[in-house]
């Protein structure tokens, strides 16, 4: 698979962050989650299924997500994922640390430009 220069790899933790943030809006099943992230990012981010499902399992294991039996829009059986309280707390922590990091990176880049 040739590497697309426009689309770079996510840094560690970014996928989990986006999953938690998306599911915070409303509980979703896997396919809906992929579509949601793609739409919201304006096609800039594409989540690979190969990383999504292991990431979901990781979050489940750590108790940041919960899953329950449900049906998709078309009425097929699937799993619906929702954020737990622990997940919300984790999300807030991560977001604030990300924001600090972004702020730092932005400043450094800004200084470098002048």
């Amino acid at each position: 698979m040739a590497k697309d220069s426009d689309r770079r790899d996510l840094f560690p933790g970014a996928l989990e962050l986006m999953i938690l943030q998306s599911l915070r809006l409303r509980p979703m099943h896997g396919y809906a989650l992929v579509k949601h992230i793609k739409q919201v990012s304006g096609d800039l981010l594409q989540v690979e299924e190969g990383s999504l499902y292991p990431a979901l399992q990781r979050l489940l294991r750590e108790g940041l997500l919960d899953s329950e039996a449900g049906t998709s829009a078309k009425g097929r059986p699937t799993r619906i994922y929702r954020v737990t309280d622990a997940g919300l707390r984790h999300l807030e922590q991560e977001v604030s640390s990300f924001e600090k990091m972004f702020a730092g990176i932005t400043r450094v880049l800004a200084v470098a430009k002048t």
């Binding site: 099943h29 896997g30 396919y31 992929v34 690979e48 299924e49 190969g50 499902y53 292991p54 979901l56 399992q57 990781r58 294991r61 899953s67 039996a69 998709s72 829009a73 078309k74 097929r76 059986p77 699937t78 799993r79």
Partner: protein, 881 residues
């Protein structure tokens, strides 16, 4: 992992599958919505998702404790696979089990002899100080020390915090109320002996300071074995009076059962009394004390060595005449015991041999695995195309290897249990050996486990790597139609078979050389007539036979009475039995000035009665034998053997020459050589002949000697009459051992018969295993080539061409393997002669004979498959697959 959590996890995995299935379905629906045909949409959605199995597996792994689950799965899978092909499994497991069992069984001896349990506190800081005799060929640096040296060296407290002395090989008679008189070996030890080791008695007390003084020294400590055997484990034995050497001794204590030093088997201990006479220069000649010392805190072995080397040189300077080139050496206690016991080399050879047997077994199993992997090529290709990584496939194949090896290890341990029983029964040829208990201990268990894993790696790594290097496309496509198996597999097979043959040949040659060497020694001419000879050992104790006139009187009476026993022809007494070891002394030749004290002559000294030479059948070559007139009042005379004349008189006439023997407490008179007798081997188990000198018993009586009876009847039938005859002379005097000379020689073979039996067994095992290996691999390659053979036959090849082709292939490998094995075996005779003292490795004839046997076996192993190949029916062969 509990049953519940397993169930729970199973459900979670099902949930995951449901999620993924829905994901793909929804994407497909969407594509259909965009106008794609359903079938194409589904395929596109699937392709976009990627490898479902892989994603599922990775998602599951999130939950798994570091891949343990997949290891369990691998093991389950491996077991299923093995159960499916029982023929392969049983062959592989039994092959490895044999390899592991012989290794573990032999290792039980290593564990018992070389990792001995050492008694007492902190045995690592215990050392043994010994005398070094540079002129001795056998263990020159493990000689006991003399009393004056002990007294001098034990004063040096800078490197040793304490030093104890033990005169280990005393013999005496034990009697007492309700006890039959019994001859036993015991040790006389300095009172600090037990404290230096840091052991305390199981019952009563050990010796206390001052009990080495005459008058207070009549106390003894019993060994646990003697206490059990003779005193019925009676705890009230402490304080009881027993008779040792006709004197009353008080039992002070009993040592615990685990106080045992490898190679030393005293039945009891008495205090060692050292008097003024033990401090004289003359006493330096009597080296009988083993010195056990504890290093002072903070002192390293090397420092002790330096110090002892210095003290040894000191003694040389102070007493050049006696100490000569003698020195002092230090070894750690375990090191000394193992060295002194001298079983190390034999064990090393045996362990090497069984190690090779294991290699051959592993090569067989590797061949089997390789063969199997070729058959599973398609399965592996499918698994890899489904997303299994190479690592995963190798792991699966290795797991199979490990499972086989562990099964082999289990069966092997079971066999080891019996092996050890057989070995223990065989290892009873002397007291010291019988005293060492061989068991399936932790060391052996750990060893067996390690060997199993090593053999798993040896046998399965190469085949697993080879098998995993599968080209998915070619293997899936070309499956079956290939005329023969791949070149790479062939090369590996050739390597395995060649290696097996080389190892087996090497082992066979090595074993045959050793067996031949031992049998040459066994059948050598000893130089005397050893059949119809009864022998018995006697030790005249000081209590009743204090002075030499009493000893002479007893010996006269003994010979007189023994001669009257019906069936006895002649009777003699000798300080040492012929070919049973020797007592080496230094001597001087009159008129010969020795360049310096380092050049001292040594000779084996034997004291005999005049009839000795007739009884033993040693012919007189020149001069005369002893007569009854050669007694204390007559001038000292000696006889010498041919080797003596050869070595010290360069084969010139020695009659009339005078020599002086440095014998402790003997009159330093010059003795005249009056006769030359023919050579007798110094040891029945060695080809060596040493210079020997014979003294007349009447001129130098000794208290410890052997009685020899030449009989006209079966010698052992005279034993009871002999006992009666001696009881008439002295009721309390025990006979040490009553054996025919043939039995003495048999006993002197020590472990040799067992050693050669073991070697022979292992060599034959190696031969059989490698024959099976050759057969299996050739048969397999013929099977693989059925198709090719079919084509050849269809194109007009004759049956004889085919069988010749197969035989040629087999022979080529056998020839290469044999050549390597022969080359490896070439330096063996030199190696064996350097490590086995006294062994003369015979016959280069071993090489061609063993080579022929090996090639015949290789031929037979190839012949079966070759014959079968000829009977291939071209039509079925071509239709095959």
């Amino acid at each position: 992992m509990t049953f519940l959590s397993k169930l729970f996890r199973r459900r979670r995995y099902d949930d995951l599958t449901v999620s993924i299935r829905e994901h793909i379905a929804e994407r497909a629906d969407e594509l259909v919505g965009e106008g794609m045909p359903r079938a194409e949409a589904e395929q596109t959605a699937r392709r976009a998702f990627g490898n479902v199995g892989l994603v599922e597996q990775r998602s599951r792994e999130v939950w798994q404790w570091p891949t343990a689950e997949s290891v369990f799965a691998d093991i389950r899978f491996a077991l299923r696979q093995l159960i499916k092909s029982p023929g392969f499994t049983i062959t592989a497991v039994v092959t490895l089990a044999l390899g592991i069992a012989v290794n573990a069984t032999m290792f039980s001896m290593v564990s018992a002899f070389l990792l001995p349990h050492l008694p007492g506190r902190d045995p690592q800081s215990m050392v043994v100080v010994s005398s070094v005799n540079p002129d001795s060929q056998f263990q020159p640096d493990a000689n006991p020390a003399s009393a004056p040296n002990y007294l001098a060296w034990s004063k040096d407290t800078r490197v040793f915090s304490a030093m104890a002395a033990a005169d280990e090989y005393r013999t005496g008679s034990l009697a007492g109320k309700g006890l039959q008189p019994e001859a036993l070996t015991y040790a006389a030890v300095s009172p600090n002996y037990f404290p230096v080791f840091g052991v305390s008695p199981a019952l009563g007390r050990a010796f206390v300071a001052g009990e080495d003084q005459p008058g207070r020294d009549h106390v003894l400590v019993l060994s646990h074995g003697l206490w059990e055997r003779r005193f019925g484990s009676d705890a009230s034995v402490v304080g009881r009076v027993v008779r040792l050497n006709r004197e009353d001794y008080v039992v002070a204590g009993v040592m615990p059962a685990d106080f045992r030093l490898l190679g030393f088997t005293p039945q009891l201990w008495t205090p060692l009394t050292l008097t003024a006479s033990d401090a004289t220069a003359d006493a330096r000649k009597n080296r009988s004390l083993y010195l056990f010392a504890r290093l002072a805190p903070g002192i390293k072995l090397e420092q002790a060595r330096v110090q002892m080397r210095m003290l040894g040189q000191q003694a040389q300077q102070d007493y050049p005449a006696i100490e000569g080139r003698w020195g002092a050496a230090v070894r750690t206690l375990p090191d000394f015991l193992i060295y002194n016991f001298g079983i190390g080399t034999a064990l090393a050879v045996i362990m090497t041999v069984v190690g090779f047997v294991l290699f051959i077994a592993c090569a067989n199993v590797a061949g089997l695995l390789l063969t199997r992997a070729v058959g599973r090529q398609k399965e592996l290709a499918i698994r890899m195309s489904l997303g299994a990584t190479r690592v995963r496939v190798v792991r699966q194949l290795l797991t199979e290897g490990v499972v086989i090896a562990l099964l082999g290890g289990g069966v092997g341990l079971f066999l080891t249990y019996f092996g050890i029983r057989v070995i223990s029964a065989g290892l009873s040829f002397n007291d010291a050996i019988a005293d060492v208990k061989i068991s399936l201990d932790t060391n052996v268990l750990i060893f067996a486990a390690v060997v199993s894993l090593v053999s798993a790696v040896l046998s399965s790594v190469a085949p697993a790597l080879k098998a995993s290097r599968t080209e998915i496309n070619t293997d899936l496509k070309s499956e079956g139609r290939g005329a023969s198996s791949g070149r790479a597999h062939n090369r590996m097979r050739v390597f395995l078979v060649g290696g097996e043959i080389a190892l087996a040949l090497f082992l066979l040659i090595g074993s045959c050389l050793l067996i031949r060497g031992v049998s040459l020694i066994e059948h050598q001419k000893l130089g005397f007539n050893h059949d119809h000879l009864l022998t018995a050992g006697l030790v005249l104790d000081k209590a009743r036979y204090a002075d030499s006139s009493k000893q002479i009187q007893f010996v006269r009476g003994l010979i007189e009475r023994a001669r009257q026993i019906p069936g006895v022809e002649k009777v003699a007494v000798a300080s040492d039995l012929p070919a049973s070891g020797l007592n080496s002394v230094t001597f001087h030749i009159k008129g010969q000035t020795e360049a310096h004290s380092n050049d001292q002559h040594t000779v084996a000294d034997v004291v005999v009665t005049p009839e000795y030479f007739e009884v033993a059948g040693v012919p007189l070559l020149r001069g005369r034998l002893f007569t009854g007139r050669d007694d204390a009042t007559a001038p000292h005379v000696v006889l010498v053997n041919q080797e003596f004349v050869h070595k010290y008189f360069q084969d010139r006439d020695p009659l009339g020459k005078q020599i002086q023997l440095d014998v402790a407490r003997a009159s330093p008179a010059w003795s005249e050589i009056v006769g030359v007798v023919s050579d007798v081997k110094s040891y029945s188990e060695d080809a060596r002949v040493d210079p020997e000198v014979f003294e007349a018993y009447l001129q130098r009586p000794v208290a410890s000697f052997s009685l020899m009876l030449r009989s006209t009847v079966e010698p052992k039938s005279l034993a009871s009459s002999l006992r009666q005859a001696i009881a008439q002379l002295d009721r309390e005097l025990p006979l040490l051992r009553v054996m025919s000379m043939d039995d003495v020689i048999e006993a002197q073979k020590n472990g040799d018969p067992l050693f050669t039996k073991l070697l022979g067994t292992f060599a034959i095992l190696a031969l059989i295993l490698s024959a099976i290996g050759i057969y299996g691999l050739i048969a397999y390659s013929v099977g693989q080539r059925t198709h090719e053979i079919g084509i050849r036959l269809a194109l007009g090849a004759k049956a004889s061409d085919i069988s010749r082709m197969i035989l040629r292939d087999g022979f080529k490998v056998a020839a290469i393997g044999s050549a390597i094995g022969l080359l490896m075996a070439l330096p063996l005779p030199k190696l064996f002669e350097s490590i086995f003292h006294g062994l003369v490795v015979g016959g280069p004839e071993v090489y061609p004979v063993v080579l022929a046997v090996m090639l015949i076996v290789a031929f037979c192993a190839t012949f079966g498959p070759a014959r079968r190949a000829v009977h291939v029916d071209p039509t079925t062969a071509l239709r095959n697959e």
